[in-house]
């Protein structure tokens, strides 16, 4: 009696074992458990990066119980330096393949929004019509989009685009003082995003979860205060690897809600003394003056007293 085993089943089992085995080994290493680096707030963040950080995860809750930002005033309307900027927003003109595509690929169409061209009205009108076939061929992405929408490109294009363009172009005027805005071709909606409309979903955030990390600010304030009370014990010239970690809960007034809870049991008399000295410092230095705005962050955290140079 031969037992016939299907090869694909065997392959499937082997593959599972390999994959699971590999994940067990690799995810059990300490290296992967390292805490992600703290993000430090910086001034320059590109819209793409910001969007990425704030994007959230698909598994995050969709509903938004309360606004993430306290509304302190009405969001400022975007100062539309040049009338044309608001025009760019509605890219709804999907049906007309030519208008959106030229931005990337076609040189002649790019000229359209340029203010200097305001004078050359007649030139612009004929262009889209002439170029219709050109953009479709070189751009495969555009082609794909078109196919999905299954709309015949040539017919509507001929009539629609020129009509809405006319009246607005007339309103434009060249203002020398706002030349920076003229050169800035980014989507203006980035300005409106600074209010309560930003990330309206209470998403779980990225895997680093650092979107609301202000610990660099209040952490430095905490360090400065607790160091004043810390009478570090003398560990000789070789005791360079001491570390004491506590979990502490603070009230709004900066005082301790309860006794700090040390993490782990010290293994040597010196480490015990080291831990006790840190505990004394935490207790003696309360209440801590920390920014009330970040209370949610510092109401529960873990100070790490360490000799290890970082």
């Amino acid at each position: 009696m031969k037992v016939k085993v299907d090869k694909t089943l065997v392959a499937s089992v082997v593959l599972h074992v390999l994959v699971l085995g590999w994940t067990m080994v690799s995810f059990s290493t300490r290296a992967l458990e390292m805490a992600p680096e703290d993000s430090v707030p910086v001034d320059v963040v590109s819209p793409d990066q910001l969007a990425h950080i704030m994007a959230g995860m698909k598994t995050g809750k969709k509903e938004n119980p309360k606004p993430l930002v306290d509304k302190i005033a009405e969001a400022k309307p975007v100062d539309d330096a040049v009338g044309k900027i608001s025009e760019k927003a509605p890219p709804v003109v999907n049906e007309t393949a030519p208008p959106p595509q030229p931005k990337i690929e076609e040189k002649p169409v790019e000229k359209k929004p340029d203010p200097p061209k305001v004078v050359e009205k007649p030139k612009e009108e004929p262009k889209p019509v002439e170029k219709k076939p050109d953009p479709v061929k070189p751009d495969p992405i555009a082609e794909a989009i078109k196919k999905e929408e299954k709309k015949p490109p040539p017919k509507p294009v001929a009539v629609k685009p020129p009509e809405p363009a006319k009246p607005k172009i007339v309103e434009r005027h060249y203002d020398q003082t706002q030349i920076a805005a003229l050169l800035d071709k980014r989507d203006p909606t980035r300005q409106a995003a600074t209010g309560d409309t930003l990330n309206s979903n209470a998403a779980l955030g990225t895997s680093k979860g650092a979107a609301a990390d202000n610990s660099a600010t209040w952490g430095a304030m905490f360090k400065q205060q607790v160091e004043r009370c810390w009478k570090k014990p003398y560990g000789g010239i070789e005791a360079q690897r001491s570390e004491a970690v506590f979990n502490i809960r603070l009230k709004r007034d900066g005082s301790l809600e309860g006794m700090p809870v040390p993490e782990g049991t010290p293994s040597t008399p010196y480490l015990r003394v080291y831990q006790e000295s840190a505990l004394r410092a935490i207790i003696e230095c309360q209440p801590y003056k920390l920014p009330a705005a970040f209370f949610e962050e510092w109401k529960y955290f873990a100070p790490v007293f360490t000799e290890q140079k970082t």
Binding site: D213, E227, K232, P233, Y270, E276, L279, P303, T306, T310
Partner: protein, 450 residues
């Protein structure tokens, strides 16, 4: 067969994208632990600061014990202050007056004066004439007792009780063994430089209770304690060649170690106290020998055409460090305690002498001569990590405290003055002069007495 037929229609394949997304899902689960953990704030900058400690006078159990109560607290205060690791608070600043050590102190009043630790104690004369000493060490901020002990002793040993309590406090608050309940033997020097009288003397580590062990008629050098602290070995220039002697502190008896044809010098006990290692002169050279004190048998350890001297055992007795000029200049060598190949461990500029192994086993202290100066330094037992702790006109003869944290040595300022004893932390901090009745040199620190 049916399975075989059915499967080809439903091939199970994992493409790369599926595998990666599976991994990502697992990774998200693994990473969620970190994401949920609270923020960790690193506090790395703390500088060492002496611990503020309040030591009120010990309460008198009977009216006649007030004086000893004051004395004990003063000795403890002095010990802890001299260690450099504590900052005793002036008693004038105290708010609470301790009258009963069995009740918890009012911690707030000690917090107010920034005390982090508080010592309360009581001295009581017992009916049998003995003295009872009790003390409690409190953590002011956590309002907890860290340690507490009671001792009974003869009234004349109240200073030792104070040293023992000091050691308890030191150990509980630093995590290191103390060194206060120990003695120092040294060479006391009196008289003008040309006719200097050198006597063997012994005192508590803080300079109190000085006792003279020899009369000063003969020159004495390099005294060393036995591990039992009951005996001292030293070199004495008598009528003939200098000899190594054993001196019993309790009985006052002394005897010559061995009967060798030439000069014997630089003696030191083995860690078990059963042997004495020393140098014996042989012509223009000297070699190391070890003598078993029970069987009186002598074993040669080195045989070189050079001067091998100042041997010192590692605390486990397995190795010896010594000084030798076999390479040209005096340098430090390490070899097995039974003899054999010696390895040079000092390679700096100048010459190295008087090596001594730390009771902790981690460092070797030495005298270094070079650049017109004598320096006291330490290095690891493999010769790495050399640190010069102090340097000057003449510093020599380091000896370790029982806990290996402090060194004592003697210093001559030059000119008409004589030598004095100093202590220094092995980090180079807290250099202090040790009070002695006259000039003093060649100190040797005893092990802990208890």
């Amino acid at each position: 067969m049916t399975e075989k037929n059915g499967l080809p229609n439903m091939p199970f394949r994992l493409n790369r994208r599926q595998i990666i997304s599976g991994m990502a899902a697992l990774g998200a689960v693994a990473g969620s632990r970190n994401a949920l953990a609270q923020k960790r704030i690193i506090v790395p900058e703390g500088e060492f600061t002496p611990l503020p400690i309040a030591i009120p006078n010990f309460v008198a159990g009977t009216p006649g014990d007030a004086e000893v109560g004051v004395g004990v607290s003063q000795v403890i205060t002095n010990n802890l202050k001299r260690s450099g690791l504590f900052a005793p608070i002036d008693q004038a600043a105290f708010i609470e007056r301790i009258s009963n050590i069995d009740a918890a102190p009012q911690f707030q009043s000690w917090k107010t004066i920034n005390a982090q630790a508080l010592v309360t104690g009581r001295m009581t004369r017992q009916g049998d004439g003995r003295l009872k000493a009790e003390f409690r060490l409190w953590d002011v901020n956590t309002a907890q007792q860290l340690t507490g002990q009671q001792y009974f002793t003869s009234p004349e040993y109240w200073r030792r009780i104070a040293h023992i309590i000091s050691d308890q406090i030191y150990e509980r608050l630093t995590g290191e063994k103390g060194y206060f309940d120990s003695r120092v033997v040294f060479v006391d020097e009196t008289g003008p430089k040309e006719r200097r009288v050198k006597r063997l003397a012994m005192m508590d580590q803080d300079g109190a209770n000085v006792r003279y062990l020899t009369k000063g008629s003969d020159l004495v050098l390099t005294p060393r304690f036995s591990p039992s602290t009951q005996e001292i070995t030293y070199m004495e220039f008598g009528q003939g060649d200098p000899r190594v002697y054993l001196f019993n502190i309790e009985t006052g008896q002394r005897e010559i170690v061995g009967n060798f044809p030439g000069m014997s010098f630089s003696p030191r006990f083995s860690p078990d106290g059963q042997r004495v290692i020393m140098s014996l002169q042989q012509g223009g050279n000297s070699n190391l020998f070890v003598m078993d004190l029970r069987s009186k048998t002598t074993t040669r350890l080195t045989d070189t055409p050079a001067i091998d001297t100042s041997p010192s055992y590692a605390p486990d007795g397995s190795k010896i460090c010594f000084e030798s000029d076999r390479g040209g200049k005096p340098q430090i060598y390490v070899m097995p305690a039974t003899g054999g190949a010696a390895q040079r461990i000092s390679f700096g500029e100048g010459s190295y002498s008087t090596p001594v192994w730390s009771p902790r086993g981690d460092y070797i202290a030495f005298t270094k001569q070079g650049g017109g100066q004598f320096a006291i330094g330490i290095m690891k037992t493999d010769g790495s990590g050399e640190r010069i702790l102090t340097a000057g006109f003449h510093n020599e003869g380091p000896t370790f405290a029982p806990n290996g944290r402090v060194l004592m040595f003697f210093r001559e300022p030059g000119g008409g003055g004589g030598p004095s004893l100093f202590t220094i932390d092995i980090s180079g901090r807290n250099e202090l002069r040790v009070p002695t009745p006259g000039f003093a040199s060649d100190p040797a620190w005893s092990p802990l007495l208890s």
